[in-house]
Every structure is written in structure tokens, then in C-alpha cells.
């Protein structure tokens, strides 16, 4: 393996590690929220710093790679994608920590089983985890054939989010004494919806890296 390929492999390995750490953060967040597990929520918050450190390291390593090796074509697209993906992963981890803080700090009653079911929280988490893991496979196999399926999952998450707005506003309308808790729940769901958006951004970066197509800001994503 050539020395610049070794450096590139190092960048790939590093973003893979970060990616897996963030997937595990989402898995933990799902469990912490659904079971109101305070200890796990604490662990998620403390691991956020580790994700931040990955972002800083990848930033610096990508800068050096560009400065020293002048990558072009697919190599350049890969380095640019890794930089953007690491920023996005860090934001996803921020949202996960935000949800964990809800578990730690909310003065409201935890989500009841009935609420969890009607808000379809588990389904939302499963869709997010599927987006994260499938996109990692796409990145590593340099194959975007699953890209449209991954992006379609974000539409499913958006649909759950919008129906949650209706559900929670209805509930607040019925019993305004608990409005604050309803709003806090809404913010948790909003965070999950934003994670879905960020997962879509990652897919866009993978498509840019592999096929040099720009999907950003296009109403209809054509792959």
C-alpha cells in the first residue's frame, strides 16, 4: 500500500470508529429514553466529549491530508466527505446527548407506555439506527444503491414527527396544566427528527464522494 493510501486508510478507519461510537450513542439513547435509565443517560452525556475529540482529530488530519497530498478527483471528494460527515456525526451525538439530558433533568413524568406507543418513539429510533448503519455500509463498500432507501426512511421519521405535533398539541389542548411537559416531549421528538435530517445529509455526502453528484437543496433527490 502506498504511503498516501495508508494515510487515507487511517482517515477512513478513524471516521469508521467515530461513526460506530455515534451509532452506539443512539442505541443507548433509545434504551435510556424508553426505559428511563438515568445511569445510561449519564454515560451518553459523558461520552459526548469522546465524539467531540474525534471531530477535532479528523478535522486536523483531513486538513493535513489536503495540505500534504493535494488529493484530486475521488480522493478529494472522499476527504471533503469525511470532514463533513464527522461534523454531522458530532451534531447527531449532540442531539443524542440532548435527549439523554431530558432523561436526567426533566421534571415531568417519564413517557408512559401508552405515550411511547402513540408517539411511535421506538419506530423512530429504529429508523434512525437503520439509516446510520446502512449509510456506514454504503460508505465502506462505496455503493450508493441503498441511498434512496435510506433517504426514504427520513420521510417516515418526518411523518412520525408531524403526527406527534398533532398528538401533543391535542393533549395540551385537553389539559393545559401539563403544557410544559408536553412541550419538552415535543423537543425530544424534534431532536430525533433532526437526527434523521443529519443522517440524510450523510447519505448526500456519500453520494457526492462516490458518484460526484450533488443532492443538496434539491427538492426531489434523484440518485
Amino acid at each position: 500500500m502506498k504511503y498516501n493510501e495508508k494515510e487515507m486508510k487511517f482517515l477512513r478507519d478513524e471516521v469508521n470508529e467515530m461513526w460506530k461510537l455515534v451509532i452506539s450513542q443512539i442505541e443507548k439513547t433509545k434504551k435510556a429514553l424508553l426505559t428511563n435509565d438515568v445511569e445510561l443517560a449519564l454515560e451518553i452525556v459523558s461520552l459526548e466529549k469522546k465524539v467531540d475529540a474525534y471531530e477535532l482529530r479528523l478535522d486536523s488530519n483531513c486538513e493535513h491530508y489536503i495540505a500534504l497530498y493535494n488529493p484530486v478527483a475521488i480522493d478529494l471528494r472522499l476527504v471533503l466527505s469525511i470532514m463533513k460527515i464527522s461534523i454531522t456525526l458530532e451534531r447527531i451525538a449532540d442531539y443524542a446527548a440532548g435527549v439523554a439530558r431530558y432523561v436526567l433533568e426533566a421534571e415531568c413524568q417519564p413517557f408512559t407506555d401508552k405515550m411511547k406507543e402513540s408517539l411511535r418513539l421506538e419506530k423512530m429510533f429504529d429508523a434512525l439506527l437503520s439509516m446510520m448503519t446502512t449509510s456506514l455500509v454504503s460508505f465502506n463498500s462505496e455503493n450508493v444503491k441503498n441511498a434512496s432507501k435510506i433517504l426514504a426512511k427520513d420521510k417516515g421519521i418526518d411523518e412520525i414527527y408531524h403526527s406527534s405535533i398533532n398528538l401533543l398539541s391535542e393533549q395540551i389542548g385537553k389539559d393545559s396544566t401539563d403544557a410544559r411537559c408536553g412541550l419538552e416531549m415535543m423537543m425530544v421528538i424534534r431532536k430525533l427528527e433532526r437526527i434523521g435530517d443529519h443522517c440524510s445529509n450523510i447519505v448526500e455526502e456519500i453520494v457526492f464522494y462516490i458518484e460526484a453528484k450533488v443532492l443538496k437543496h434539491k427538492g426531489k433527490r434523484e440518485i
Partner: protein, 248 residues
């Protein structure tokens, strides 16, 4: 380790190097960059006293290699040049076979054991990442090899006498991109065993292969820094202007 202290060098009355002090660590690659005539090749040639061959030159200051001043009267210049190999811009194989080019240095040094020479030639050609390409042409003329192969042969010839330092004066500037890439790969491998100093006009080559980079201009060492730092955030504005192509 190579250490220079307050080096001034003159061609007649022209001062080519001005008060240069720097340290090059063992088993690293140091690159010298700078515009033509900045003194980088002159500085490189100090390390194996190649400048001694030019009339009317004068040196001030100290040049220490492994702690010894190589300009001390007690220094044996042949032994010095055996320890400090040099590769030039244009491949310059001898008009001999591939085998004899590499064996030459050994024979000149009085080695006669045929098996030892044959083993050493093979080992050195492997170290120069050339053996697989020439193993069936060892008795053919070196001139039958491609430019890139000839340059690696010259590197093998320099390595055969087991130097500790390798000086390279634009070793890839006459080569195509694939041959250049092979030479750069080789430099990366060789630094595990040798201390390498390379002069290059190609800034990206300096970035790709070196651990430290020295930027020369008008005979002065403007900046000497880690290559990563030099190409991302140099300390001097003049370095930045040069490496970004704003002048030069």
C-alpha cells in the same frame, strides 16, 4: 544527525549561503525548497563536500555529522562520501551492466568475495524497489532501463556501500509521474534506515515525502519547520507567499 552552525558560503565574492544553522535528525526526511539560485543545492552539496570540487569557493561555519566537523583536516573525504551517498537530478548510471553498476562501489572498496557481492547487489536492488523489475536483466546494460529504473539503480548504487545519509538533488524532476511516485515511495521506505535530505523544486513532493522542510531564499534559510506545519500554517508570511505561488 546533521548539524550546521552559522554557515556562510562564497563562490568567489558572491555569498551563496548566509549564516545558516539547522539540525537534521537521523532517520528523517528533510526537504529543501526555494526558488532557483536560492542556495538549496549549494547547501546540500556541503554535506559530502562536493563543493570542494569547485574552484574559488570558501566556507565559514561548522558542518557536523555524527558530531564531527566534516571540514576538519583529519577527515578522509573518500570515507565521508562513502558514508554520505548522493543521487542527482539526471540518472547517471555507469556504462556497465545493471549488476556492475551496483557492485562498483563494493569492488572499489576492495571487496572480492563474489558471493558477498552477488548477495549485496540483490539486497540493495530490493531495497531500491528495483529487483523484481531487473532480475532478468542483471547483465544487460544499465542504459537499457527506463529513466525511472535508472534513477532507482543510481539509488541502489549509492546504498550498496552502506551509507548512513542519502542526499538527493531533485531526484525525480526528470521522471514521469509514475516513476516519480515510485521514487517517493522508496524515500518513505528508506528513511527507516537512512537519513535523507532532498532538494526539490516540486513543493508538493516536499509535502508528500518529508518530515521537515527548509525554505531558502537569496541564500538565507527563511523558515525551517515540520512539513505539516509548513504547508498548513507557516510561521513566516514570505513562506506562505512562496508555497501558495504568490511569487517565485
Amino acid at each position: 544527525m546533521i548539524v550546521t552552525k552559522n554557515i556562510n558560503f562564497y563562490y568567489g565574492t558572491f555569498q551563496a549561503l548566509k549564516n545558516i544553522s539547522m539540525t537534521m535528525e537521523a532517520n528523517t526526511v528533510t526537504a529543501f525548497i526555494g526558488p532557483s539560485g536560492c542556495g538549496k543545492s549549494t547547501f546540500l552539496r556541503l554535506f559530502n563536500r562536493m563543493n570542494d570540487l569547485i574552484d574559488g569557493t570558501r566556507l565559514e561555519g561548522e558542518c557536523l555529522i555524527k558530531g564531527k566537523d566534516i571540514y576538519d583536516k583529519s577527515i578522509n573525504i573518500d570515507a565521508l562520501r562513502k558514508d554520505i551517498g548522493m543521487v542527482f537530478q539526471k540518472p547517471n548510471p555507469f556504462p556497465k551492466s545493471v549488476f556492475e553498476n551496483v557492485a562498483y562501489g563494493l569492488r572499489v572498496n576492495g571487496i572480492k568475495d563474489k558471493k558477498f557481492i552477488a548477495d549485496k547487489v540483490e539486497e540493495t536492488l530490493k531495497a531500491a524497489a528495483l529487483f523484481d523489475e531487473v532480475k532478468d536483466k542483471l547483465n544487460k546494460s544499465a542504459f537499457e532501463l527506463s529513466g525511472g529504473q535508472q534513477q532507482r539503480l543510481c539509488i541502489a548504487r549509492a546504498l550498496a556501500v552502506e551509507p548512513s545519509i542519502l542526499l538527493m538533488d531533485e531526484p525525480a524532476s526528470a521522471l514521469d509521474p509514475i516513476s516519480t511516485s515510485k521514487i517517493e515511495e522508496l524515500i518513505h521506505d528508506l528513511k527507516k534506515k537512512y537519513t535523507i535530505v532532498i532538494v526539490t523544486h516540486n513543493m508538493q513532493q516536499a509535502a508528500r515525502v518529508s518530515d521537515k522542510t527548509g525554505f531558502f531564499m537569496l541564500g538565507e534559510l527563511i523558515e525551517y519547520n515540520d512539513t505539516k506545519k509548513m504547508f498548513l500554517n507557516p510561521d513566516k508570511e514570505i513562506t506562505q507567499n512562496y508555497i501558495t505561488g504568490r511569487f517565485g
